[in-house]
């Protein structure tokens, strides 16, 4: 096993992903297999190679800094689990 359950719990916290106790053994097992598999990259000779940033080596296109969006808050917030007066509601953050 290249990863242990504490490492997996730490990664899951970084990813804001709840992994239940029941899911842990399978997650540790399969994630370790994946990490072992991609570890073969370490043997690839790639020193000095420029890392790829875009498959066609294109650069980011810019546009004029103009307002192009219309106000569609109500339509968009129709999908929100909890809103009030145009605001998204979440559990209290500051006591």
């Amino acid at each position: 096993m290249s990863l242990d359950k504490d490492q997996v719990r730490h990664i899951a916290l970084l990813a804001r992903l709840d992994i239940t106790d029941a899911e842990i053994p399978d997650t540790v097992d399969k994630l370790s297999k994946i990490v072992d598999f991609v570890d073969q990259l370490s043997r690839a000779p790639a020193d000095g190679v420029v890392p790829m940033a875009h498959p066609l080596n294109a650069t980011q296109r810019l546009r004029p800094d103009a307002v192009t969006e219309t106000d569609e808050r109500d339509r968009i917030q129709a999908n929100a689990p909890s809103v009030d007066g145009g605001l998204y509601l979440v559990p209290r953050v500051i006591e």
Binding site: V38, S42, A44, A46, P51, H54, Y88
Partner: protein, 488 residues
């Protein structure tokens, strides 16, 4: 007449509509009946938009009667449920988006509808397009019409099964590592993944943004060419869309391959390939050679590293893209969260399935402090080497050909225990995504009554070259006209 409309290809339906042999309403009613007859067996659909489609068909018939028919007027299409469709649930195969009704149309959806195509529904898919068998869908696996105990491939498995089962002549798909081409190979259909940036990704729910590309699954090459013309082209809403002229793909199909140089990759016929699949592919290459094409051996020295490279780059981008699902603005939200952290963690833990979680965790790991250089940076360097191998190969050849998938369709459940075995399904297709090249799978035979696909990769923006090569192949073969038993 209308009882056999499901047997016609898109171009045949187009001709029939233009000749007045039948109406858009006839087509829509006929195919909706097919979908209700076979849809449940295949589980190919997440949502069927029958009422909407019939309204659109009535309007299409009015337009045609008024002499205002658009190029795809009244032609049926199914969209993979990864494309946002205004006013229609867009689930991406996930519990996370089971309740999500898109407020807007993806550019692909908008352009096809703008050309007159009628959406019949949304196709099932692997959750967030992460899978090669359509078994990771929250809505259950799709079944392959060629053998209902087998997978239709993935992630565009609903699209491939719906087209192969003659529920619809064409469906959109997306391809991040082979998700159009592998399901096409496993279902005896044509699957086209265009050049990266050729088709807009706007409104296509993101998985791995440097690899994702939209395309189509059809039964004939001509149909894929017809649709691509209306899907391709610059879109200001997609910052990676490329402003490059869109040719008349259908009109440029001439079936001539006498000046075509086809590169055959030695590594793609090694031990990992099912022997009889390899034989079918070699025979297909011989058919193209007999038609005048020249076969040339090509070497892609780093291609064996494409799968591990992909399984660093794609999960890294996925972990970043899927961070938007937070249980706050849209999508699944956990009940009674204790605090904000609990809301995030449980909403995501409940909303995502096991494979999506594994990819998010893999991506988070390879991007985390201390591991970035060893994994992510290294993978992007190897990706450059793989792309460079292709660039060199295309100095000598016009097309690179080989098998699309290592085996024919496998049994549902056969590969779900070992992620690496599942990942290796895409061993021949992932290279094209890493290098941003267009790829196509065309039916080229059968092994034990299960379809096999020939994979053709072209240089950037050379979709017409691979389309024409596949079109030429279809002039000499009839694999693509074969229909699975029970779906005639």
């Amino acid at each position: 007449m209308t009882t056999t409309l499901h047997t016609l290809t898109l171009t045949e339906l187009k001709n029939g509509l233009e000749e007045g042999a039948f109406s858009a309403t006839d087509i829509t009613e006929s195919l909706l009946a097919r979908i209700s007859e076979h849809g449940e067996t295949l589980n190919a659909f997440i949502t069927v938009t029958g009422e909407r489609a019939l309204e659109a068909a009535a309007l299409a018939d009015q337009r045609r009667a008024a002499g205002e028919a658009r190029p795809l007027e009244g032609l049926p299409i199914v969209h993979k449920d990864i494309f946002c469709t205004s006013g229609v649930r867009t689930s991406c195969g996930s519990r996370m988006l089971d309740n999500f009704v898109s407020p807007y149309d993806a550019t692909v959806v908008e352009r096809l509808a703008g050309a007159g195509a009628i959406m019949l529904g949304k196709a099932n898919m692997d959750e967030f397009a992460m899978g090669s068998s359509n078994e990771t869908s929250w809505y259950g696996p799709v079944r392959n019409p060629w053998d209902l105990s087998r997978s239709p491939g993935g992630s565009s498995g609903g699209s491939s099964a719906a087209v192969a089962g003659r529920l619809v002549p064409a469906a959109t798909g997306t391809d991040t590592g082979g998700s159009i081409r592998q399901p096409a190979a496993l279902t005896n259909t044509v699957g086209l993944k265009p050049t990266y940036g050729r088709v807009s990704r706007y409104g296509m729910i993101a998985f791995a943004s440097s690899l994702d590309q939209a395309g189509v699954i059809t039964r004939s090459v001509a149909d894929a060419a017809l649709l691509l013309e209306f899907m391709a082209g610059f879109d200001e809403h997609d910052s990676t869309s490329i402003d490059h002229p869109v040719p008349d793909y259908l009109g440029s199909l001439d079936g001539r391959v006498d000046e075509l140089r086809i590169g055959v990759v030695r590594q793609h016929f090694d031990a990992g390939l099912d022997e009889r699949t390899g034989k079918a592919v070699r025979e297909a290459l011989a058919t193209l050679e007999a038609r005048g094409a020249t076969l040339v051996d090509v070497d892609l020295p780093n291609i064996d590293l494409s799968v591990p490279t992909y399984y660093v780059v794609a999960p890294a981008e996925c972990s970043s893209n899927l961070s938007r699902f937070d249980g706050v603005r849209f999508g699944h939200r956990a009940e009674d969260p204790a605090d904000l952290l609990d809301l995030y963690c449980r909403s995501r833990g409940e909303g995502f399935g096991a494979e999506v979680k594994r990819r998010i965790l893999t991506g988070t790991y390879v991007l985390s402090a201390g591991y970035y250089d060893a994994y992510y940076l290294k993978a992007q360097q190897v990706r450059q080497l793989i792309a460079e191998d292709f660039r060199k190969a295309f100095e000598n050849v016009d097309v690179i050909a080989g098998p699309t998938a290592p085996t024919p369709a496998f049994e549902l459940g056969a590969k779900t225990d070992d992620p690496i075995t599942m990942y290796l399904n895409d061993i021949y297709t992932i290279g094209a995504n890493l290098a941003g090249l267009p790829g196509l799978s065309v039916p080229c035979g059968f092994v034990d009554d299960l379809p096999v696909g020939l994979h053709l990769v072209g240089h950037h923006f050379a979709e017409q070259v691979i389309l024409n090569c596949a079109y030429a192949y279809q002039q000499d073969t009839d694999w693509h006209t074969r229909c699975p038993e029970g779906f005639e």
